[in-house]
């Protein structure tokens, strides 16, 4: 089972091999959980999402077709669940609107960390967390999928059900936003060398 591709393991599970779920859990429980955690910023919620992702995987196993990557499929489920949960929580905050993005993007912004907060953060990871959480929802999600899950733009476009151009714009803007927010800290830390 360990030597098989993700898609083959999923097909085995589709055929009724219960052990295949163990392998899928071993391979994907952490990526899915970490994706949900970076997206929501809440460990308990991330665990709930991850649990529900695997339950959905089981529920819809018969609908899986190995035409695409398994990772794309499982992250699509995670994306849909995250969006769904976000909408349930703060539907008014995720109201589709057009501001700086040309596409009608579903966004959710956490308050930006103040310089005092940034200054008080000892850990770089803490600062990053704050800054990433401050990005609009789709920018944040696209950036996480790219930077942490190493998905290419095509896969991210499939997950979002959007065009490749949109994904490029999202990632570009996410980096620009993040760069602006992290600039004071990075320069202070001597991150940039001209």
């Amino acid at each position: 089972m360990q030597g098989l591709k993700d898609e083959e393991v999923m097909l085995n599970y589709q055929k009724g091999e219960v052990e295949a779920m163990d392998e899928l859990l071993r391979r994907y429980k952490n990526p899915v959980y970490q994706f949900a955690l970076r997206l929501s910023g809440n460990a308990a919620e991330a665990q709930d999402i991850a649990q529900e992702v695997f339950l959905r995987l089981h529920q819809y196993k018969d609908e899986y077709r190995p035409s695409g990557k398994f990772s794309t499929w499982i992250f699509s489920i995670t994306h849909n669940l995250a969006v769904s949960r976000l909408r349930k929580k703060k539907w008014w905050a995720v109201w589709p609107r057009r501001d700086d993005d040309s596409e009608a993007l579903v966004e959710f912004q956490s308050p930006d960390p103040s310089p005092e907060e940034i200054a008080s953060e000892n850990e770089l990871s803490g600062i990053l967390k704050k800054c990433i959480q401050g990005l609009p929802f789709l920018q944040r999600e696209a950036l996480i999928l790219r930077e942490y899950q190493n998905l290419d733009y095509q896969d991210i476009a499939k997950i979002f059900k959007k065009s490749l151009g949109t994904v490029k714009t999202l990632i570009h803007r996410a980096r620009q936003n993040l760069k602006t927010k992290l600039l004071p800290y990075i320069e202070e830390a001597g991150g940039y060398h001209e």
Binding site: Q51, S125, L128
Partner: protein
Amino acid sequence: MNRGHVIKELSNYLDNQLSEKEKLKVETHLQSCKACSYELERLKVLSQKLKAWQAPGLDVSFDHAVRNEIVAWELKRGQVKMKKKTLAILVPSGVLAGILVFAFLGALGQLYIKRGVQGSLRPSSDNMGKQFNPAGSREAIVSRRYERHPGGTQAAVSGSFGLDKEGYVNYYVRDGKFDMSTVETKFNNGASYGEDQTGRVGTQRISGGVHEELASQTGEGSVIVIQPTLPATGEGEKIIRTGTVKLEVENGKEAYKKASELCQELGGYLASSNFYRDEEGREAGTITMRIPKDKFTTALERLSALGKVDNIFTDSQDISQEYANLKSQLDAAMVVYNKMLEALQKRQVTIPEAMRLESELSPVLRRVADLKNKIEYLNNAVSFTTITVNFHEPKISAKSLKESGRFIRESMLTAAVNTVRFLAIAIPAIILIVLYLGVGIAVVLLVKYWIIRIFKRG
């Protein structure tokens, strides 16, 4: 390639998402543009810094939790499937059962209509006769009156049956007792049956005071044939007949008219009549008619044809003895009267004696007149039978259905007109409300948009 375009493509270049041609263009530009090279450097550093956010992983308890979730879901799904399966079995079964019951009841109804009132016979509490218990809702009570006849045999001399429109009634015999009906018999001249002192059941034809056993069978499953005959009104015998017919008719007025015409046609006359409409608007009435005795059966049959028979009840009262007594008394009185009259006519009597004889003659004369009146009354009662017809319209008649249909059509028309009127008033109001709401929502969205813009700028 200008600088702005390259900065936009730097992120894609960093992620290796450019085509070879685009990649070459960017690299060429980077060699000559320090600002863009610096920007690329910053992006690379940013990307490296992002790796610093390490998220923790999940332990094995997560796997157990997922498996438990899956098991719980499967169990729930199994229950749902089971419910669906059960419903899938129960619903068609219920429908099928309903159809079968409906068909069965329909068949029973057809049989009921075709064969008339059916039921079972059981001994009455006084053991003097049998009770006819109708299987359906129709009233059909058999009453019997028994008299002791010479020879010590009990026999029915009068009685009636619950009959259908065609006058059929059926009976089983089990262990020598009436139990249920199987045999049909036509109501021609009235029917009677009796049970003799040994408990044997048989069919007897009663003719005047003489009865004749027609059939007598015992044993489980055996059947007797009842040949109904009314007490015959032979020479010298006097029998008063009465009958009651209870009918369900479609049209009360028409039934009343037909019954009256029938009475006239058969040479009878209406003794009394009553026609009314009940609280629910159904027409009903009662007609009591006197019909010549030889037309009694014909009258019953033709009256039964006027509607659906709920019940026919006939009764006979033998007044031969009473009539004979009156006749004897009249004869005796006439003898006395004639003798006294003869004495008066033959003898020369003084005035006081004549007055005494006349005063003695007067009671005899009154007695003779009284007896003659009674005999005349009995003659009339015997020669004309009394038939009472009770008729009523059914609870749901074709007429009331027609009226209901008309009422529904009128109601629907009124409702439609009212709906159109309401819509004519409501639609402009709704349009106005929607417009106001639209404007309100637009204002709220604008305010929200500006607030967000202000916060963003701040």
